[in-house]
């Protein structure tokens, strides 16, 4: 290995690590606020990447049907719940949010499909399609069981991963897609060629991380989410509902997933189940942070990026095995550092 290769691998590592870091942050947000180990995070990535690539090929992506279908189911369930309570006050809002909004987004998607060169529009539409899926998923799969144990929620999360992956296969098929590169920029720094794509990824990730830090540190809603993460009962007693926090954290996770998907779409070919593998690497990062620490999760994700990048050079066939084996020493360290066995959670 010479310097040029090392630098090139490092660039690759930081680029991928930045994406894993974003995903790890989403996983930590969702876990601390709702206690859900959010396995389906990867599907948002696949959905976004495939939707973007489909829009670029001038077609309307199938995810729009997932959005419309999910919206209809939510609206029906809300309607039934309202009937049971004999109060129809919440219905107009639910209809607007779950039926009118998805239809509007579908219309935007049609328009965008007719303009295959308008990259900005494609990005906006892709985010608009994927982001509402987060709160919908929360409403359908998790909200009815908000008080269940972490393990029950994990099983639900895995089941949701199955459903979303399967729907991805239905709407995008087994073929992979790759989005077009963003405006090709290249810099030459010494022996290293820095691609505009890498810079785009890193800058976007940094901006998003700073934005998230501001949201959590400064805004009332961000603080409300943190309050729920710190003390669920306390949060409910000041009027922060678990539903509200759940939907908001899932919306954030879906937004981060969508952005990650858009960022990776031009770098690799994405299949309906690629997002799962990407998100699992984010998981490795999040586990390094103990599922609760943001800075450690971000650093862990960078480590995953480097490990992956360098092992793909030395032992490319075992790249995946090496990355996933990384969590063994991490768990070993955590386990040895824990003196007593931690408290079990009541179900």
């Amino acid at each position: 290995m010479n310097l040029a290769i090392a630098l090139w691998l490092s660039q690759d590592a930081v680029t991928n690590g930045a994406i894993y870091a974003l995903i790890a942050l989403a996983l930590v947000v969702v876990f601390t606020v709702t206690r859900v180990i959010f396995v389906p995070q990867g599907e948002f990535i696949s959905y976004a990447a495939l939707s973007l690539a489909t829009l670029q090929s001038g077609k309307v992506p199938g995810t729009i049907y997932v959005l419309i279908g999910g919206g209809i189911i939510v609206a029906v369930l809300d309607g039934l719940a309202a009937l049971r309570r004999r109060s129809l006050k919440s219905l107009p809002e639910s209809t607007l949010l779950n039926i009118a909004l998805p239809l509007a987004i579908a219309a935007a998607a049609r328009w965008s499909a007719s303009r295959p060169d308008d990259l900005l529009l494609q990005v906006v539409v892709t985010i608009a399609i994927v982001m509402p899926l987060g709160p919908m998923l929360y409403r359908l799969a998790f909200q009815p069981l908000a008080n269940a144990s972490v393990l029950v929620l994990l099983v639900i999360a895995v089941a949701a991963h199955y459903v979303l992956t399967g729907l991805g296969l239905v709407f995008f098929g087994g073929e992979g897609l790759r989005a077009r590169m963003f405006p090709a920029l290249q810099f030459q720094v010494g022996v290293l060629t820095i691609s505009g794509q890498s810079i785009g990824v890193i800058v976007t990730a940094l901006v998003l991380i700073v934005l998230l830090a501001l949201v959590f540190g400064r805004t009332t809603y961000g603080k409300a989410l943190r309050a729920t993460a710190i003390n669920r009962v306390g949060a409910r007693l000041v009027g922060i509902s678990s539903e509200f926090s759940g939907r908001l954290s899932f919306a954030l996770a879906a937004l981060i997933g969508a952005v990650s998907g858009i960022l990776v779409a031009p770098i690799t070919t994405i299949y309906y189940d690629t997002g799962f593998m990407i998100s699992l690497k984010g998981f490795v990062g999040a586990i390094i942070g103990g599922m609760t620490s943001y800075p450690l999760a971000a650093l862990g994700s960078l480590a995953v990026g480097f490990l992956e990048s360098y092992s793909s050079f030395w032992a490319s066939a075992f790249k995946e095995s090496i990355v996933f084996t990384l969590i063994i020493p991490v768990l070993l360290w955590r386990s040895l550092a824990t003196r007593r066995s931690e408290e079990e959670d009541d179900s």
């Binding site: 144990s149 393990l151 586990i287 768990l331």
Partner: protein, 585 residues
């Protein structure tokens, strides 16, 4: 009787099936058997123990690849490759269990997902494992010279092993360690306080589940006589976990129900859905996912209860009269029993116990009283190893115990009850009480699985029944503990503590929630215990109850000892009155 007839009928059906069914359905039944073996391990691990693994398919793979490599490359006999595969699985699962099971519950599933994916790619990339194209030419099994060359012959082997696994697992659960396993899920702290090494037990059931998976893999390799990485990936692990969830854990045969349902559904959907979609792919995962979500929204118990309703529950009987367990020798009266020296504990800035010291002599009933929040329960938790003290020493019969884990303190002869009842609600009253006698038995997991523990088990159960009778619950032995009124649940806790035959009994508000007459009975019970030399330390709020019962009182306030003395001295102490009544003026 009805139950036995049903079991016999089911066995007869199972035996006759391959003789009458077409080949394709025998194959399906074989797959159901293979999946049942894996799922059974998960029912124990997840359903009963409350632990989740997403790495079972990888253990199946280890069992399958071990025999594939050793038979095709080394020419070993398949009957030797089975122990080899089990040995590898044992090492891997022990290691994984060791590093994840001491952490909180979600690390095991995450650790096993990572392990499962890592090993899948190892299978697919190693030359000597045939990479993604796999290994062919695995020899068939021969049993007593009979070559199991076809599906029908193999069927009997698979189902014999499935039934054997069910039997062994049932035996395991119906034992001293079985009770402890059933307490793992939500009552680990309580189990530790009665001498159970919960971390070890968690590792045991994880290893047990992994070994079952490896057996299934070994069978699979010889049934197909070909292995490739495909059936050992993360999705297969998820399928096994779903089978356990859908079958449910209230009965072990839920594993067979879950395995059968999902295997059949998968076969049907794999045929149907691609035709509907007009493209190929594993669309059945959508249905599986929806099934699990809808199911968990409605019940956590799986499908088994719906089937179990059709089967009469066997009448429970007490064991025949057996020699009682040998009691402990109580120390002589008025020896130094318990000493607290400058014990302190803070939670953050909150000092719950501040430099607390008091002594207790054997044969005493000592009352620990004080306003709510004075730190009494914290003292109990420090004494029983639930919490670690920040400073100070706790000695029991001259031996320092504050640095010991709860289970070793229990060994010294301390038994306790809890302010908030810690029973296993779904387990019978008798089994709940018998957990208390855990340390008075010796039989291990292996002897229990082989039913070699019956003599000791009968004595443990008799002890529990006897103590329950003592506290007035003799008529409720086989009811689920969670269905009793709260007052009776407290009495079960006392019976459980008595089963440990303690030298020192710690009672945390035993009279709370009891009616007047029940309190009288309790007081009588405690007096008779003292007659037998048992020392008692109790936290209680009912002053009338305390004053009439105890020899001496320690009063706590703000984590500190405020006063100490006879009930009479305490009642006339101005400081105590001031502290207790905290008048507003």
């Amino acid at each position: 009787m009805m139950r036995r007839a049903l079991v016999l009928a089911a066995l007869a059906l199972l035996a006759a099936a391959p003789l009458v069914l077409p080949q394709f359905q025998v194959t399906l039944l074989n797959y159901i058997g293979l999946a049942s073996i894996v799922t059974l391990g998960l029912v124990l691990l997840t359903g009963i123990g409350g632990l989740i693994s997403f790495g079972q398919a990888a253990f199946v793979g280890v069992g399958a690849y071990a025999t594939a490599v050793l038979t095709t490359k080394v020419g070993m006999s398949p009957w030797l490759t089975l122990p080899a595969g089990l040995a590898v699985t044992l090492v891997v699962s022990l290691f994984l269990g060791f590093i994840t099971l001491r952490l909180s519950g979600h690390y095991l599933p995450l650790g096993t997902i990572a392990w499962g994916i890592a090993i899948y790619f190892v299978f697919g990339n190693l030359d000597f494992l045939g990479k993604y194209s796999g290994l062919a030419g695995i020899p068939p099994l021969t049993v007593l010279g009979w070559r199991l060359g076809d599906e029908r012959a193999f069927y009997y082997l698979i189902w014999a092993i499935t039934l054997l696994a069910l039997l062994v697992t049932r035996n395991l659960l119906d034992s001293r360690n079985g009770r402890a396993i059933r307490a793992l899920r939500n009552r680990g702290m309580m189990a530790e306080n009665f001498g159970v090494d919960t971390a070890r037990l968690k590792i045991i059931i994880f290893v047990y589940a992994a070994l079952l998976a490896a057996v299934s893999g070994w069978l699979y390799a010889h049934l197909l006589r070909f292995v490739s990485p495909q059936p050992f990936g993360i999705n297969d692990s998820i399928d096994y976990q779903f089978m356990a969830v859908i079958g449910g854990a209230t009965e072990l045969w839920g594993a067979v129900i879950g395995a059968a349902l999902l295997t059949l559904l998968k076969a049907w959907l794999r045929d149907l859905l691609p035709r509907l979609m007009e493209q190929s792919g594993n669309f059945e995962i959508i249905v599986f996912g929806l099934l699990v979500i809808v199911m968990l929204h409605r019940t956590r118990d799986g499908l088994v209860p719906y089937f179990a309703r059709l089967i009469p529950t066997p009448a429970q009987r007490l064991p025949k009269k057996v020699p009682p367990l040998p009691p402990r020798t109580q120390p002589k009266r008025d020896e130094s029993l318990l000493q607290l020296k400058g014990v302190s504990k803070s939670f953050g800035a909150l000092a719950a116990v501040k430099s607390l010291s008091f002594d207790m002599r054997s044969g005493e009933i000592l009352g620990l009283i004080g306003p709510n929040g004075a730190g009494k329960s914290t003292v109990f938790n420090l004494m029983t190893g639930v919490l670690a003290a920040d400073a100070g020493e706790i000695c029991f019969r001259g031996k320092r115990v504050d640095n010991l884990p709860g289970r070793d303190i229990a060994r010294c002869g301390l038994a306790r009850t809890y302010q908030h009842v810690h029973l296993v609600p779904s387990m019978s009253v008798l089994d709940n009480a018998a957990i208390g006698a855990h340390l008075r038995g010796r039989e291990g997991v292996l002897s229990a699985s082989l039913r070699l523990d019956r003599a000791e088990e009968a004595r443990l159960r008799q002890e529990a029944a006897c103590r329950l009778d003592w506290v007035g619950l003799g008529a409720h032995l086989f009811e689920a503990a969670g269905t009793l009124p709260l007052g009776s649940q407290r009495m079960v806790e006392i019976a459980r503590a008595l089963c440990a035959d303690p030298l020192l009994l710690l009672l945390d508000e035993p009279a709370a929630g009891l009616r007047y007459l029940e309190k009288q009975t309790l007081a009588k019970l405690l007096f008779s215990l003292r007659e037998r030399g048992v020392s008692i330390l109790l936290v209680e709020h009912d002053m009338e109850f305390v004053m009439g019962l105890v020899d001496r009182i320690v009063v706590m306030n703000f984590g500190e000892k405020l006063a100490e003395g006879s009930p009479r001295e305490i009642q006339s102490s101005p400081e105590v009155i001031e502290a207790y009544l905290g008048s507003v003026e």
